[in-house]
């Protein structure tokens, strides 16, 4: 549904988005991750046709956004960053206006507005003006506007920003539910959110894609992925560390904690040696040594670790070109 090829955007001498390509099909939820100023919003603004790209091609539902913007825009529902809304309009007036611009009149419009109001829980504030709304309601009003024409494509810039934990999880499950028959792009810098709702993730830094894959694939890139966490009673941690580091397939072992005769360690896998089952090897060693193992499990790898390791702060990487 969305196909982006070699997209770039320069603001003066600064390259905000640098040669990005990706695609999203129906039934997919693509998460955009990246530090602030990485180019997430700029990319979304180009996809939705708000700003023209410096170079590259964007096609939405088969229409080129630059050459044929109107039919492309018709297919998109867009929630911009900070969820803007006309301050002096009521929620109802605003949604009716959005429906009208989407070409809906009469009964169709009424139905569409009611549907969006139900979906975003806005009944209570329908006749309140937007400037008097709390941030959560304001956000949902703008989201309702994006959903009003039941678009095939949904682009959302930080859809959970400024919401309380309950609303966050509501929006997350809404995204997941809608992702079953829509193509969705959303940006966030909350990692659990991306992990929970996305089928694929792009990590973008300084305008470039630095990682692209399913959340599991990305997590596997973490140093921690496949590491074994053990808790053993009655053996000194130092001894355990020496023994565990010698397990074939282990890169090194690390002491996490030692308290009241209980030691907690993590054994990192040697990534250059594929295959093998580190957890089984560790368990077998423990059985041979007759250690009292209180707990043993395999770590999944953490997205935040991957994120940190590939999007280093400016001070480390030097200036962007």
């Amino acid at each position: 549904m969305i196909k982006v090829e070699n997209l770039s955007k320069a603001f003066g001498p600064k390259l905000a988005v640098n040669d990005i390509s990706f695609s999203v099909e129906r039934g997919e939820v693509l998460g955009f991750l990246g530090p602030n100023g990485a180019g997430k919003s700029t990319t979304m603004r180009m996809v939705t046709g708000f700003i023209p790209p410096t170079a590259g091609k964007i096609s939405v539902g088969g229409y080129d956004v630059l050459e044929n913007p109107i039919p492309a825009k018709r297919m998109i529902g867009y929630l911009p960053e900070n969820a803007p809304g006309y301050a002096d309009m009521t929620v109802s007036g605003f949604l009716n206006f959005a429906a009208e611009l989407r070409g809906m009149r009469g009964d169709a419009r009424k139905k569409a507005v009611n549907r969006a109001v139900d979906l975003c829980f806005l009944e209570n504030v329908l006749y309140q003006s937007i400037e008097t709304l709390s941030k959560g309601y304001k956000h949902r009003t703008c989201l309702a506007q994006a959903l009003i024409h039941d678009p095939g494509i949904l682009v959302m810039d930080e859809p959970t920003d400024g919401l309380d934990p309950n609303q966050k999880s509501e929006v997350r499950s809404l995204i997941k539910r809608m992702g079953e028959n829509k193509a969705i792009i959303f940006s966030s810098h909350i990692l659990e959110e991306v992990e929970a709702a996305c089928s694929r993730v792009i990590i973008i830094d300084r305008g470039r894609i630095v990682a692209y894959g399913t959340p599991d694939e990305l997590k596997a890139r973490s140093e921690m992925a496949g590491a074994v966490h053990v808790r053993v009673n009655g053996v000194p941690a130092a001894t355990l560390k020496d023994r565990l580091a010698q397990v074939p397939g282990a890169a090194r072992a690390e002491i996490l904690a030692e308290r009241d005769g209980t030691a907690e360690l993590r054994v990192y896998p040697d990534k250059s040696r594929a295959g093998g089952n580190l957890t089984r090897d560790v368990a077998e060693l423990a059985a041979r040594q007759q250690w009292q193992v209180a707990e043993i499990h395999t770590e999944e790898g953490r997205l935040d670790e991957v994120f940190r390791s590939i999007t280093l702060p400016d001070t480390v990487k030097g200036p962007a070109i």
């Binding site: 700003i51 825009k73 998109i76 867009y78 900070n82 803007p84 309009m89 206006f97 009208e100 070409g103």
Partner: protein, 247 residues
């Protein structure tokens, strides 16, 4: 067809925006008070002893100088400040439809203000026997004048997210359009410059073109003048918005 419906939807929202905030009421009251003051006190309507609205229309270029930019300054500046421009321009409409819809809504609002001056027409008809054709021509001219100032305000409003800057810049441009053909100024200019040049400059002034309407003359050239300034200013608005989006 859908273009007209889009323009209509934008007009409706914009016009509603005037009346849901106090802007409309403040504007209308001040406009009517000032027209009354200028017509009857400064323009000495009664002392003239003639059944015409000359003292009413003479002041319009000066009155509009401040009031029209005040009505138009928010058109795009507000949209940029709130961030709703991003919403509006990612809707399946063209930028032109948005520009025209907003302009027409404000123009309609100014027309409403003008219509509300009807008591002055009744007064002059009650007191004497004026040429109502001249009065109609005056109203048409006044409406075109308001539209011209408004298109300029629309343009300056697109330049900035700050309404104050938008207001000041458009007052300056409108003031230039008045002064270029204001008799005291042109008289001064003829002392140094070639009268032909002075005349060319004066041809750009709204004063020169508004005069005919006041005398009851509907000259095509004057209508074309106002229409082309409006067209130019609105076109420039489109260019400004496009350039801003291109970054």
């Amino acid at each position: 067809m859908s273009a007209l419906l889009n323009i209509k939807a934008i007009m409706k929202r914009e016009l509603g925006g005037y009346f849901t905030s106090p802007i409309a009421y403040v504007f209308l009251v001040i406009f009517l008070l000032l027209t009354g003051f200028f017509t009857f006190t400064v323009g000495s309507f009664f002392e003239r002893g003639e059944a015409s609205l000359v003292s009413f229309f003479t002041w319009h270029p000066w009155l509009y100088l401040f009031l029209v930019p005040a009505a138009g300054m928010r058109l795009w500046a507000e949209e940029r400040r709130l961030g709703t421009m991003e919403l509006l321009l990612t809707m399946p409409i063209t930028t032109w439809q948005a520009i025209i819809g907003k302009f027409l809504a404000s123009w309609l609002f100014l027309a409403l203000a003008l219509v509300l001056t009807f008591p002055v027409v009744i007064t002059v008809n009650y007191l004497g026997d004026p040429d109502n054709g001249v009065i109609v021509a005056g109203y048409v001219g006044s409406l075109l004048l308001a539209g011209t100032y408004l298109a300029i305000s629309c343009m300056t409003s697109a330049l900035t997210r700050n309404q104050v800057i938008s207001f000041i810049v458009s007052v300056m441009i409108c003031l230039f359009l008045i002064l270029a053909g204001y008799t005291p100024v042109t008289d001064l200019l003829t002392r140094w410059a070639n009268p032909v040049i002075v005349e060319i400059v004066a041809a750009f002034s709204v004063m020169t073109h508004f005069e005919g309407f006041q005398r009851g003359v509907l000259d095509t050239r004057d209508v074309v003048f106002f229409a082309s300034v409006m067209g130019f200013a609105l076109f420039t608005t489109g260019v400004i918005i496009r350039n801003q989006r291109a970054g």
